[in-house]
């Protein structure tokens, strides 16, 4: 077994301080996250928008609409057409993006232009932990089909 003392501690920088990222259990039952944030992540479409922003930091409303439509339908093994996308577009503009903004999770100038850029706000560690936890559990049907052990014969 080779131990490189210098490198081993590299990834430990975050825990230098006394602050510890709470467990998902603590996040779910405690009061580290506000109700507005819980409400914001309680909806599939808002979560998919956030997951995409976690990867790209920013996206136009146009692209977020494509992503939320394609991804949320694909999670249910469904194809989406233009009418489905129109419904998602309306929901995003009038309900979901404003809610995400009010919860302090995204910033954008809401003037109804599809080219408007939505930017992920700086997120606290508990919010990131919660989103990561939710992300890994999204689209359960596929997970069961494709996950390890799913094809045991």
């Amino acid at each position: 077994m080779v131990h490189d003392d210098g490198r081993d501690t590299d990834c430990g920088n975050d825990s230098d301080g006394a602050e510890e990222v709470p467990s998902v259990f603590d996040i779910l039952v405690g009061d580290v996250i506000g109700d507005d944030v819980f409400r914001a992540v309680a909806d599939t479409r808002r979560r998919f928008a956030l997951y995409y922003l976690l990867e790209h930091r920013e996206a136009t409303v146009e692209e977020l609409t494509d992503v939320v439509t394609g991804w949320s339908f694909a999670a249910r093994a469904e194809a989406a057409g233009p009418t489905d996308r129109d419904a998602v577009a309306t929901g995003l503009t009038h309900a979901h993006l404003p809610l995400l903004r009010e919860a302090g999770l995204v910033t954008y100038e809401p003037d109804g232009d599809p080219d408007d850029v939505v930017t992920l706000a700086p997120l606290s560690d508990p919010v990131r932990t919660l989103l990561r936890w939710a992300y890994e559990r999204e689209g359960g049907g596929h997970e069961q089909r494709e996950g390890p052990g799913g094809n045991v014969e």
Binding site: D66, G70, W71, A74, A80, G81, P82, G139, H142
Partner: protein, 244 residues
């Protein structure tokens, strides 16, 4: 036009209409999921998703740049290696397959094999079967491929009010014994090379659909399918001339 000219024209037009496939996936290698479609008529872009989450998806944008549809990557993979079923089979679930075909309507495919084309053909036959009326026109490239489907076409003709027309090269269709409810036609040389199906929708334009494919290499087909009533009508006009 009584030869394959109309098919060649349609293929050319479809090829000229560019589409964009945006593949959203954690792994860039997944972009190959759409490799069966022609890069001359399709632009493929990849956008990354965080790893460890639900499956990715493909967004299709039409020639006008507008959103034409989206579909999950697992469904595209399944679509490209489909089980072959009959409309009356208990496990037939044509719905998902149909939605996928609608999303990929008039995208040019270049490397489909027999099995993929059979599955697509099944969808058109299934529509005709469910409509139970109207006209279905089908071209077979060889006697062998027709005989394989014979039982199905007998049943289609016997169980529905469909008007079924089958086209084939004169060298095999001329002497073939007749089939009740199925009209056999000698196809001119240019037409006999194509695998095609066209259903007029049985009085409902939104049910009209067609598939046109040519075998450019053994078991390697290029072509398209369409839910456009105008496209189906053009195929009908060309075939109508055959009947004279």
């Amino acid at each position: 036009m009584t030869d394959g000219e109309v098919f060649a024209d349609l293929l050319g037009e479809v090829e000229a209409r560019r589409r964009e496939f945006v593949v959203y996936a954690a792994d860039e290698a997944e972009a190959d999921v759409v490799a069966g479609f022609d890069t001359r008529n399709v632009t493929v872009t990849h956008r990354s998703l965080p790893s460890g989450g639900p499956p990715g998806f493909v967004v299709i944008r039409g020639p006008d740049g507008r959103f034409a549809g989206s579909v999950g990557i697992p469904e595209v993979r399944e679509f490209l290696s489909p089980p072959i079923r009959r409309p009356w089979d208990d496990d037939w679930t044509g719905g998902g397959y149909r939605a996928l075909l609608a999303v990929l309507d008039e995208a040019l495919f270049v490397s489909f094999d027999r099995r993929q084309l059979l599955a697509t053909s099944r969808e058109i036959e299934d529509r005709a079967w469910r409509a139970g009326r109207g006209t279905l026109r089908v071209g077979f490239q060889s006697r062998a491929s027709f005989e394989l489907q014979l039982a199905f076409y007998r049943r289609l003709a016997a169980d529905t009010d469909l008007d079924v027309h089958v086209y084939g090269s004169p060298d095999w269709i001329r002497d073939r014994p007749s089939i009740e409810g199925v009209t056999l036609h000698e196809a001119p040389e240019g037409l006999a090379a194509y695998w095609f199906l066209a259903f007029d929708g049985g009085g409902e334009a939104e049910n009209a659909c067609a598939l046109v494919a040519e075998e450019w290499y053994p078991d390697d087909y290029r072509g398209f399918w369409s839910y456009d009533a105008g496209t189906v009508e053009r195929i009908y006009d060309a075939l109508g001339a055959v009947e004279g």
